[in-house]
Symmetry: C2
Subunit: 549 residues, 2 copies
Amino acid sequence: MSRVRIAAAQVDTCVGDLEGNARLVLEWTRRAADAGADLVVFPEMTLTGYPIEDLALRASFRRAAAATLDRLAQDLVAAGLGQVAVLVGSVGERTTAGVQRPTNDAVLLRAGRVESRYSKHHLPNYGVFDEFRIFTSGDDICVVEVAGRRLGVVICEDIWQDGGPVSQMDANDVAALVVLNGSPFEEGKGHVRTELAARRAAEVDAPVVYVNLVGGQDDLVFDGGSFVVDRDGTTLATAPQFVEHLLVWDLADEGEPSLPGPQVPPLGADEETYRAVVLGLAGYVRKNGFRSVVLGVSGGIDSALTAVIAADAIGGENVVGVSMPSSFSSQHSKDDAADLAERIGADYRVQPIAPMVDAFQDQLALEGVAEENLQARVRGVVLMAISNREGHLVIAPGNKSELATGYATIYDAGSIGGFAPLKDVDKSRVWALARWRNDHAVDRGEIPPIPESSITKPPSAELRPGQTDQDSLPPYDLLDEVLDAYVEHAEGRAELLARGYDEAVVDRVLQLVDRAEWKRRQYPLGPKVTALAFGRDRRLPVTSRWREP
Amino acid sequence: MSRVRIAAAQVDTCVGDLEGNARLVLEWTRRAADAGADLVVFPEMTLTGYPIEDLALRASFRRAAAATLDRLAQDLVAAGLGQVAVLVGSVGERTTAGVQRPTNDAVLLRAGRVESRYSKHHLPNYGVFDEFRIFTSGDDICVVEVAGRRLGVVICEDIWQDGGPVSQMDANDVAALVVLNGSPFEEGKGHVRTELAARRAAEVDAPVVYVNLVGGQDDLVFDGGSFVVDRDGTTLATAPQFVEHLLVWDLADEGEPSLPGPQVPPLGADEETYRAVVLGLAGYVRKNGFRSVVLGVSGGIDSALTAVIAADAIGGENVVGVSMPSSFSSQHSKDDAADLAERIGADYRVQPIAPMVDAFQDQLALEGVAEENLQARVRGVVLMAISNREGHLVIAPGNKSELATGYATIYDAGSIGGFAPLKDVDKSRVWALARWRNDHAVDRGEIPPIPESSITKPPSAELRPGQTDQDSLPPYDLLDEVLDAYVEHAEGRAELLARGYDEAVVDRVLQLVDRAEWKRRQYPLGPKVTALAFGRDRRLPVTSRWREP
C-alpha cells in the first residue's frame, strides 16, 4: 500500500474523430507518465467524442471504435506507456435478447490490453440528453486495482441518481471513486457538481475524482473544471475551466489523511458565461474546418459583443465585419461599427443595402413590416454571398430574448448561418457580458473592445425612422424576468400573475413566445449556457393551440 | 351477456386544443350513440392531442387537461350521453418519490365520472418518439366492464413490446382488447400494425379493436386506418385512412363466432404516400391558422408536385404560385409553370429576378456557385416578402434526395418557409407520385394536373446555362438507392461496397450527406412518410469528423 498518483486528463475531444481522440489519449498519457502518474483518467466517451447521438446506432461506427481502442492499447505499449493504467471512455456493445445494443463504457487499458470494462448504469434522458434512446444500461459495478489500491469507476449520470452502482461501492471498500464525465456547462452548475460529488464521497467514505470533458460540441460547451473532493466535502484539488488541463493528485496511503492538490480560484458568473460562449464558438469553427467568420456589424450591442467573442475565439484578424447601412441607419451606428472593427482588428467592410432594397421595392412596393423585413433579409443575402465567395462561417448575433419572442426577421443577418453565439444569452445578460468584457480589458491595461455607446444607447433594429425595440417589446429587464419564469422555469400564466407581473405584459410575452416556435426550429446552433436553452433542451410542438389559461 | 357495440372514433385532434378536442369527443360520442354503440373508443391522448412533447412537463397544462376531462364527463351527461362508455386519452399524473410526473392515460368516462384510468406501460423512446423523456410508466392493468363484458384496455406501444400488460390480459379473461393509438404513418406500416394486433389477439384469445388517430401534426401524419382483428388473424373490420371516421363493430355473444364489420379496400403504395403528404400539409395549414400558401413554381417537377399537393390539401384557389425566371430559365420552364397554375386554378404571378440579381451583382460581382446561390436566395426573399405582405404560408418544394445531399441553396425558395411537403419523398418517388396523381386524374375523367413535360424533362436548377442535376449528382435512381441504404438502413461504406455500388459514387454520396447536416437542421418541418425521415427521426451531430472507413 502506497500513495497512488492519479492524473485527471481534461481534454478536448471531437465527435467522430476516433484517430484524433486516440492520439490525444496517447499524448496526455505521456504527460501523465512524465508527471509520475499511476493512473490517468479521461472524460466520458473519450474515443468517440461526446455526445455521439445516433452515431451510436451505426454498427460501422461501433466496429471502428472497438478497433481504435485495441490499437490504442498497443500504441500505449509501443510508446513505453504500458505500465500506466489508462481509463478511457468509448462506445461498447451489449447483446440483450439477441439484439446488439450500444453501451456507454469506461475501459481500463493496461499492458496492451483491455483489463476492465464498465457500462454506465443511469442513462440521462431529459434536458439535452437522449441516452435512453441510444444506449442500453449496464448492471455490473467496476472496481479496478491500481498500485495495490481499489478504485471504483462510474460514469457521469451514475452519481446524479441515488442508488445504482455508487451505493454498492462502499461494501466494496474502495480507496477512491473515479468518475468520467461529459457534463455540459450551464451557469451555476459547478457548485451542483461539487455538492453531488461530496455526497457520493461521503456515501463511499472515500475521495471522489471528477474528470470532465472540455470543449465545444454543437450546442453544448463542456467546461472542464475537473476536481477532487474528500469524504467530508473538502475540495482537495481543482482544474481550471474552459482549457485542456492535467490535474495531478495523490491518493494518500491507507489510514493517512487526504492530501491536497493544486487549486485554481473559481471564475465569476459573467466571466464563466463569456468564456463558455467563446469556447463554444471556437470549437464549432475549428472542428468544422473553418478558419474565419463573417457577421453583420450594425453598431448595436448584439453584433458588437458577438464580434468580440469571435475575436477572442479565433483572433480579430479572422473576423470579417460587414456594415450594411440602410437609409434608416444612424451615423452613430455606422461610426460605432467602424470603431468596433478597429478595436478588435477585424476585416471591416461597408456594403450599403439601398441599391438592392430599391431593386426589390421597384418590383414589390412593400410597406410596413414587409418592408422592414426586406431590408433585414437583403443583409442576410449579402452575408451568405460573402461566405460563399470567401469561405467564412456566417455567425448570427441574435440573442435569447429575440429568439424567445420572435422579435427578429427570419433569414435576416441576425439569424442565418452556422452558429449563433448569443442564442442562449438574454438581452440583459448581453449588456452584462459586454460590460464585463470591457472591464476585463481595462483590468489588463487593454483598450475596451466594445464602443461605450453600443452599450449605452437604446437598442434599435433601425428598420424605420426613430424605431427602438421598446416600441414593440416591454423593457428588457422586465421582459427577461418574465421569459425566465415562463421559459426556463415553465411557470404558467397564473403563477406569473400571482408574482405580480402586469397582465397585459404577461399575455403579450406568452403570445410572442408561443408563436415564435417555428422560427426557433430553423435557427442556427448556439451554445447552451443556462439551465434551459432553446433547442433540444425544450421540445415543443410548432403546431399547438395551447394558450396558458 | 349480449352483443356489445363498439365504435372506434378515428378523429383528427389538435395538440393543445383541450376545448376543441373535448368538443370532438362530445360530437363523435353522439354519432356513436346514434349508431347504438355501448362503447366509443378515441385515439391516444385525445384531449391533449398527440404528441404533446414537453407540454407534458408544464403543470399548468396538466391541470387544464384534468379540468377539461372533468367538464367533459359532465357535458356528456348533460348531452344525454351519460349511459355510453367513453374511452378517451389524456395526460395524467403519478407521484413517485414525492415528484409528480406525467403519464399517458386512457380514461373511461361513464355516468358523469371518471370510472377507470390506465397509464401506458411501454414508453417508446426511439425514432420520432421521446416518451421516456416526458412520461412515467404505469404498472397496473385495466379491464373495464361494458354491457356485462370484460374489455382489456392498453395504449399503442403496449402492443409493440412483448410482455407487459397484454401478457396479463389472458388470465383476466377479456372478451376483447381495446387499443388507443397515436401511430404515425410510414409506408408499409399498415401490415405491421395488423400482424402485431393479430399476435396480441391470439395472445389474449379475443379480438383486438385498434383505434388510430388521424391528421397532420408537425412532421407526423396519423393515417387512421383503424381496424378490428380476430384471434385467428382474420381482419373483421377496417376504417379508411386519412379521414375522420366512425367504425362500428359488434362484439359477438360469448361463445358465438366473431362478427364481421364494414371493410374498405386498402390503398396502393403511391396513393397512400400521396394522401399522407396532402393530409400533413392540410393539417399544418389549418391548425396553424393559415388559409393559403405561396410557393415558387419553376416548371420543374418538385414545385409542380408540391403545388398540386397544396391544391388537393386546401384548394387551388388558395395556392399562390410565383414564377421567378432568371436569364437562365428556359421558355419551356416558364410555359410549364404557367400551364401548371392554370390546371390547378392557382393564383399565378410572374416576378423576374434579373433586376434584383443585377443590383446585388453591381455591388458584389459574384461568380460560380456564389452567383448561382444568389439567384436562388433572391427568390427566397421575394417569396418571404409576398408572404409578409399577404399572409400566405410559404411552402418549400425541396425533396428528400436534395435534403440528403445538400444539393440546394440554403435560404432559397426551395428550402424556406413553414412546411416542406416533399421533405421525406426522394426524387424517384417524386416522379412516381406525379405519375400516380396524373393517372388518378385520368381515371376520374379529370385533366391531369401536372404538365407532362415537367415529369419527362431532365431535372435542372437552371442556375447556369445548360445545367442539369446530373452534372453534380449520380443518376437519381442510383442516388436514391444508395441514400436509402446509407440513411434509412444505416449501412456502412463496407456494406455498400459489398452490395456492388461503385466506390466513387458511394464516397461522393456519403460525403455529401455527412456535410449537409447543418443545412438539414434549419429546414422547415415536413411530413414523415418513410421508415426514417430527416429530423427527430435521425439525430446526428453537425460537428462530427466521423467518415465511414
